[in-house]
């Protein structure tokens, strides 16, 4: 029996899930996820659903930031574009969810490309500032274009339906969102096995060198912005239909920072890391809220401080991650796996 992984054919080398162990554990995990709604509370399903939505958005941001190296602090605003586009299409024109969703995605991709134009001349820190401006400009437009967006009161979005089946409870949404999250992960992983994905990685590693080997920076940087914004638009659209109401408050710079935190805590340029990061950043505040509710009985008055403490712990955990584990949760996952792979002879 070979004491390691040896590939004899290219086909086995190109596989995403390479060993029988990975595949069987994945099947077990898949069955668990499929059956989960039957034995957990509605609250846990709600949290899981938000995780699914954030996975879609965060994978989009990781494609842009982690794989292409273009840092963006405007991802939350792009999600807003998707949410508002689909909501307006549904409420004003009566278009169904299934058609509004792709339109929202493509429209967000277009907006993302417009704000990606500065990336052709500037990069690094300058690009960060450009996307920050995008965040504020989009937010302003949404708040002040009241005839279209209802301003700060927001838009009520009806639940989507398919052949008379209405997705209006957390449980019904669970499978819909699961499907979206799985396809986002699968497509995100597979982009980087194609020509386009390889071009993105080359641009991240050294854009001038990439240009020298014949990668058109103009085309691929804008494409990265488009793909990333497409994901953001889909995530925003799903969020709107899931919560039934969208307001500008949800899509502020805080959301953009949350998205960035997810991919940094998870691991830049890692799809599985993105999933870990999303879970970490989504569960952390929920956990703190739960602890706060428990402590409320003993200390009282703690809820007023809770939002501040949440912010504090959120910030501290990012600082600690960056100082002690800059590669993120993906690296910890890799180390744990490597340890068990060789166990008990780990020397």
């Amino acid at each position: 029996m070979p004491c390691g992984l040896f590939h004899n054919r290219y086909r086995t080398d190109e596989r995403i899930f390479q060993t029988i162990w990975v595949r069987s554990w994945l099947t077990v995990f898949g069955i668990f996820v499929l059956l989960m709604p039957f034995f957990v509370s509605d609250y846990i399903i709600y949290v899981t659903n938000t995780i699914f939505i954030f996975i879609v958005g965060a994978i989009g941001l990781n494609i842009l930031t982690g794989f292409t190296g273009q840092i963006s602090i405007g991802h939350g605003a792009f999600a807003a574009v998707g949410a508002y586009t689909s909501a307006i299409l549904t409420t004003k024109l009566g278009i169904s969810f299934w058609i509004a969703l792709p339109i929202a995605g493509f429209f967000t991709a277009l907006i993302g490309m417009i704000f990606g134009i500065p990336s052709l001349r500037v990069k690094g820190l300058y690009l960060v500032i450009a996307t920050l401006a995008a965040q504020f400009i989009i937010e302003y437009t949404i708040i002040h274009w009241e005839s279209l967006t209802n301003g700060i009161t927001g838009i009520f979005v009806p639940s989507p339906e398919l052949f008379g089946f209405v997705f209006n409870t957390d449980k019904k949404f669970y499978y819909l969102l699961l499907a979206f999250a799985v396809s986002a992960v699968a497509s995100g992983r597979n982009i980087f096995r194609t020509r386009v994905g390889r071009a993105f990685i080359a641009i991240r590693d050294r854009d001038i060198a990439a240009e020298l080997v014949g990668i058109s920076l103009f085309k691929y940087k804008l494409l990265a912005f488009a793909i990333s914004s497409f994901y953001a638009g889909i995530a925003g659209c799903l969020w709107g239909y899931y919560t039934n109401v969208i307001t500008p408050e949800h899509f502020t710079i805080v959301l953009s920072i949350d998205y960035l935190a997810m991919i940094i805590v998870g691991g830049l340029g890692s799809i599985i890391g993105t999933i870990f990061g999303v879970i970490f950043i989504t569960i952390l505040p929920e956990l703190l809220t739960t602890i706060g509710l428990i402590l409320k009985g003993t200390f009282g008055q703690i809820t007023t401080l809770l939002s501040a403490i949440k912010g504090l712990i959120f910030g501290m955990s990012i600082i600690l991650f960056l100082v002690f584990e800059p590669e993120g949760l993906a690296e910890i996952w890799r180390r744990v796996r490597a340890y068990w792979k060789l166990w008990p002879f780990s020397y």
Partner: protein, 298 residues
Amino acid sequence: MAENISFFFQLLLTGLVVGSIYALVALGFVLIYKSTSILNFAQGELLMFGAYVCLALTVELNIPFIWSFLLTLAFSFALGVLLERTILRPMIGESIISVIMITIALSTVMRSLIQIAWGTETKVFPPIFSEEPIHFLGLFIAQIHLYSLSFALLCVAMFGLFFKFSSAGLAMRVTAFDQQIAHTMGINIKRIFALAWAISAIVSSIGGIILGNINGINNLLAHMGLKVFPCVILGGLDSIIGAIVGGFLIGILENLAGGYLDPILGGGVKDVAPYVFLIVMLMIKPYGLFGKVLIERL
């Protein structure tokens, strides 16, 4: 017609006052960027820290304003050094995104701590300057605006002289120009980094105290820190003169845009105009008025 002109000058004047504060904060921002290559997203929180500490000293401890002001500067100095030592120094050599994210996280932490300590409602300084406006060529000028403008100008001039003539200022300029050269000339670069953060914290808290005296203090003060980006892009990210010029220009620009476009677009133009201007600037002249054009080799 005369009304139009006086409206214009009123906007210009308000712009100058706001711009002077922008210039101060931008100065602190550029200082950190120039010497340590860190894009500091926590600049607004440094400003807020200064404002709250000064307020607490003045109101809660009943210290005369001038002394609490000086004490605040000392606290800011300490805070700047502390932040550099504990959080930013381990990040030397890390990728851009990590460093950016750590300053964003730092801003969240500082804002939360301030919220825990002082709550979220708006607080006002006890009136220090007379509230009687001054008439000047048909314009109304609040005394506090006049004081803040002249004080900000004084600060800018003082820092100008500091960089030009003092040995610490010279060392900082050398470090900003080329760290290796600075090192070979016997300059302690780590000390310069700490000094950059300390001075930046001081300048920002001066801006915060002035702003607190004009508008009162609340959590929204931190947004000033983000307004600094259009200023520094306009002036050039690595130019101190640029930061000051950019600060004044953005202050004037946002007030003119607010004054003339608000009736047409319906409110709030002031807050977004600088960012629109920023995007346009990045597309036509990305390195600003005075910035150094980045030349990259393989």
